[in-house]
């Protein structure tokens, strides 16, 4: 896509700037003010804000409506959309509605299994998968048609993103899957949080070897560790999360009061290392319920002001 930028995020990336995105998890309630408070902390700090879609399968305010609250503040959202809860009819309908409200970025995901969430007894949908969703959004954008082939009265021209986890198994297959996502429609990729830089570099090397880093913007994911127990918990309980033992020891080795500071320091070091990896076009900061630290991180990384 070399035409007019679709969104601010697209503009930043297509002009070769190092992009910065962050994450905003909507509240477990109808409190729009909570979204606006989180958003205010990110204004002027990032190029776009990902709004999660019932993440970890916990019922929260819908992604679309939280995106709208952020737009009212002048922030650009990346609407996350999972295929767990809606079939192809509802997904397409929501994409049309979201675009009509001015939402211009989408991140297509399958979604966490409901077994880990607040409603493990729920029926899941998974009518289509994340790959199919990518292809659907691209078809809608480029052919102006829905999945049935029906011409749309107004095509959603969205900048399309996908997730990639370089740390899940089987490792060799991860790059094939990345290639499939790019072919299906991904313009940008946001990765799982990176702590194991060696493994991430190996993955990037493989991706570059396949010519994939030329075809897609890769935004490397980071999550600052808040405490030693949090780091340990993530390492042991979050599937596809790879936190090397030396980092866990480093977090455990500082006094409790200084752990958060150490977590930020690790995050900044990681960020610095990521910026030097060819093909990494930006960073995605997932400061879970710690949005007030995003500005500190972006500022100390020398990434302010935003282009």
């Amino acid at each position: 896509m070399n035409t007019e930028p679709i969104s601010n995020l697209h503009r930043v990336l297509s002009r070769g700037h190092f992009a910065v995105t962050a994450e905003c998890g909507p509240p477990r309630g109808a409190n729009g003010e909570a979204v606006r408070e989180k958003g205010a902390l990110l204004k002027g700090v990032v190029d776009a804000v990902n709004v999660t879609d019932n993440q970890t399968a916990i019922v929260r305010m819908s992604s679309i409506s939280a995106c709208k609250h952020l737009m009212d503040l002048g922030l650009e959202p990346v609407m996350q959309m999972v295929t767990r809860d809606r079939n192809r009819i509802a997904l397409q309908s929501d994409i049309l509605g979201a675009y009509s409200l001015g939402i211009k970025n989408i991140l297509c995901l399958s979604g966490d299994h409901q077994r880990f969430g607040s409603h493990p007894e729920a029926l899941n949908v998974f009518d289509i998968d994340s790959m199919n969703l990518l292809s659907t959004v691209r078809t809608m954008r480029e052919q102006g048609k829905d999945l049935s082939g029906h011409a749309l009265d107004g095509a959603p021209k969205m900048f399309i993103g996908a997730a990639a986890n370089p740390f899940a198994d089987p490792f060799e297959y991860r790059v094939i899957r990345l290639a499939k996502k790019i072919d299906a429609g991904a313009d940008f990729i946001q990765t799982q949080c990176i702590y194991n830089l060696d493994r991430f570099k190996a993955w990037m090397d493989m991706a570059a070897g396949e010519g994939l880093t030329e075809k897609v913007h890769i935004l490397a994911g980071v999550t600052p560790l808040k405490s030693a127990p949090m780091a340990r918990y993530m390492a042991q309980n979050v599937a596809g999360m790879d936190i090397p033992e030396p980092l866990l020891r480093r977090m455990a080795g500082v006094p409790k009061k200084k752990a958060a500071q150490e977590g930020i320091a690790i995050c900044l070091e990681t960020l610095q290392a990521l910026r030097e990896i060819p093909g990494v076009h930006g960073v995605h900061i997932m400061a879970i319920e710690w949005e007030n630290q995003v500005k500190t991180i972006v500022e100390r990384a020398g990434l302010l002001p935003r282009p």
Partner: protein, 222 residues
Amino acid sequence: MIVGEQKPVQEILQMVAPHRKFLILGCGTCVKTCFAGGEDEVALLASALRLASRKDGRPVEIEELTVERQCEDAFIAEAAEAVSRNEAVLSLACGAGVQAVARRFPRSPVLPGVNTTFLGVLEHQGLFTEECAGCGDCQLAVFGGVCPFSRCAKKLLNGPCGGSQEGKCEVDPDTECAWHLIIERLSALGRLDQLRAYVPPKNWQTSLSGGPRKLIRKDHVI
């Protein structure tokens, strides 16, 4: 085969509570093979229920019978006399069998004693695993003989998801990741490139989503 599991005795006791005289009807095909509803299970359950109701001071009269298949009228007919002698039938067949028996005997309450769980295989003695969703449009050729619709918790067509770790599914570490198996198998067959192809959305019309299904074999209709 159709795999089922006998309901907990407590649940069965509550179901049969209104009846003082009932028939436990076993099924000698699928549920017999998975130890849920054959003759042996009928006998064991009958003893357990007799014992429990005696303990409660409300003894019951239980008759036992097992037919070859409860999903075929010719076999169900063999139970007609026994059904007529009893107030109710506790069927140990799969859900299909329970309904077929109920249809045949409109005046007898027919209660389910088994939870029908899945279409599966006997992996080894005592272990049954789900391997088919009965979706009506078999795509096993695409996936190297491993079905992601029945064996992947997210029914991914272009998996695996980010939760696949060391060949196991994030939903249950005792479950193999179907996509890991697909990749392994296609690698072994030298056909991994097959997975490079995008698998489009599945047509679910042939599944239950399209409404209850019927198969008519005109060549066999009498």
